[in-house]
Symmetry: C2
Subunit: 372 residues, 2 copies
């Protein structure tokens, strides 16, 4: 029986895409690769909802965070990091590591960034060069309202760069880079795109290009300018992960065929199903329901249940693989991924297995739980 | 007819490995991936000829260069960059980009680093913190004698770190990290390892670990300490390129079965065959014969022949893909890769095609050419 991989990335890969991954290798400097690169960029622009160039880095998503920081800023630059969990904190930490002056706006985990708090935080800032946002916080299962956050930022700090970690949201949830006036938006291949990990994709606005020209942080591998110069020749500065491009060429075509809105609706539907089934088991959801993510659901481990024993039992008895909590949420959360190649039956099977293994561990559902 | 991919990386992939690339995705934080990671590291140590840990970065080879620099040094540190071509220059440029004081020891392209010149260069240096070396210079088809270079460095500058770019040599040509007392040695998945591009592998000596603890250059994505901390738990700090690991798990087992010395002998044989066939066509080889690479052969484009037209004809008429020259050698060289999954018949077919297409372009062999 094949594994039901229900972590928030890497995600399952459709058979057509798996097949493409094993195409014979080609020259990354030849016309065949240049054609793939052009097709992939064009298709991605449709999902980023942008006309700006999209740069490619052989990298995990965290590399794209570093790329965004070192291209846009200079040491001592002041940025506001709006953080609602582990990945927001990582983005802030990278900015600190590279010598930026970072003001953090933190929200209790499980909640989205608060619009009023952001308004206040922006009013107090001088010389603010950028704001770091997380679209979907994978550690807590919360999706920020980027449109509203960006509108407030543009009103209060019209010149600040808006950098958006969209690693676990893009391609699954609506994000309109150009309409919302975002400056750097990045994602990772192993999330909504239905291909293996190893490729980061970064879209860059004209405002961010201008910043990259002024910025003094040293950069080589992540240099946007070198990536753009190569892109204009149908290449990448360094050897790209060719077989991921083979996969993307197929998966993006599948996504275009399904349609952007239909994909968003499917993610809404599988997320609703996950939440409904969890509540029916009497389980409490971690995320504020108003901002619950359509790509990952965080469930609070019930009292008296050992979260690690539960995930192990699911893996070994059911071939269902879910994630636990990260950092201070370790052992306290179950996280179920439902992004990319996912359908209702995958979720039903996962929740059936969860119900069985909870029962095996002695769990008895209480009345529907209070949600934080 | 399948393409005969004869560039110096990415290299062809054996069918067994192609098959492994399309295995269904797994959890990168689970026990199955931890077991693969451990097997792959152990197998790689055999080929690096080291007992030191090997770190993994989702990255091209150039990322490993940047990782080596930012982990080992602080701004203003003095390093000697021994450069014999494009990739040696890239290593030096990265060091400069990050604020090191770089002394360059350059050799005319086509030649290996000169031992006497190195001896002189080292005697003049004070406070030298490191020496940057290229094992195999892919742009010129020259392999440095790292054992001899390292011996001279250790005698003159016992505390200097020796950093070796072994991207296009490791696993194909003898390199003894521990016996030669090297400090940082790195390679890329798309070269001798018979898997797709996207993974950099970096071995780190105790001397380099001590340097990494002292170094003040900011680092996050490339941080050796974070990579080591994760490795000790059977993980990587960021999502690894899982399907490249699937491939490596198979290709390294194939390599162990063939045997390290047998692999080196095969690379010697296919390189000799390439050079012999080229000379028989009256073509001049670019590399000093004493240091000619066993992984890539650079041939001088004969007078009166358009190098770009020739590579195009090979690609379109013969399905043979070779590389041209880089930077100042653009249009002046043909480069034939013979590393990784390569056998005599691949080379014979390539050279037969080269002979036909040269003739079609009007080339007539002269008496065996003078070799630079």
């Amino acid at each position: 029986m094949e594994q039901n991989l229900r972590i928030p990335g890497p995600t399952p890969i459709p058979p057509e895409v798996l097949h493409a991954l094993s195409r014979p290798m080609i020259n990354h400097r030849g016309p065949e690769f240049a054609a793939i690169l052009e097709r992939v960029e064009t298709q991605l622009q449709h999902f980023f909802q942008t006309t700006h160039p999209i740069l490619f880095f052989p990298s995990a998503g965290s590399g794209a965070m570093e790329a965004a920081i070192v291209n846009c800023f200079s040491p001592g630059d002041h940025v506001l990091a709006v953080t609602i969990g582990v990945f927001g904190n990582r983005f802030a930490k990278i900015a600190e590591t590279f010598g930026l002056r970072v003001t953090r706006l933190e929200t209790p985990w499980g909640h989205a960034a608060d619009l009023d708090q952001l308004t206040v935080a922006l009013a107090d800032q001088r010389d603010l060069r950028g704001v770091l946002l997380t679209h979907n916080e994978t550690s807590t299962g919360v999706t920020n309202d980027i449109a509203a956050l960006a509108r407030i930022i543009r009103q209060r700090q019209p010149d600040a760069l808006i950098l958006v970690d969209a690693v676990s949201s893009l391609g699954c949830v609506d994000l309109q880079m150009d309409a919302w006036d975002l400056d750097v938006v990045f994602t990772g291949s192993q999330k909504g795109w239905m291909v293996p990990p190893g490729l980061a994709m970064v879209a860059v606005s004209p405002r961010a290009w201008a910043a990259a020209d002024r910025a003094t942080l040293p950069r080589f591998y992540w240099d946007f300018r070198m990536a753009k110069k190569s892109l204009d020749k149908g290449q990448t500065p360094y050897t790209p992960p060719v077989n991921i491009f083979f996969g993307l060429d197929v998966s993006l075509e599948m996504m275009r065929t399904e349609g952007r809105d239909a994909i968003f609706a499917r993610h809404q539907r599988v997320a609703d199903l996950t939440r409904t089934r969890a509540r029916a088991l009497g389980l409490a959801l971690f995320a504020d329901p108003a901002y619950a993510s359509n790509t990952v659901t965080a469930i609070i481990v019930p009292d008296g249940i050992d979260g690690k024993a539960l995930t192990k039992a699911l893996r070994e008895q059911e071939r269902v693989v879910i994630a636990g909590g990260q950092e201070r949420l370790e052992g306290k959360l179950l996280r179920i991924g439902h992004l990319g190649y996912v359908h209702d039956t995958d979720i039903s099977a996962c929740m059936d297995a969860l119900e069985r293994q909870l029962a095996a561990l002695g769990y008895r559902a209480q009345e529907p739980a209070y949600e934080q």
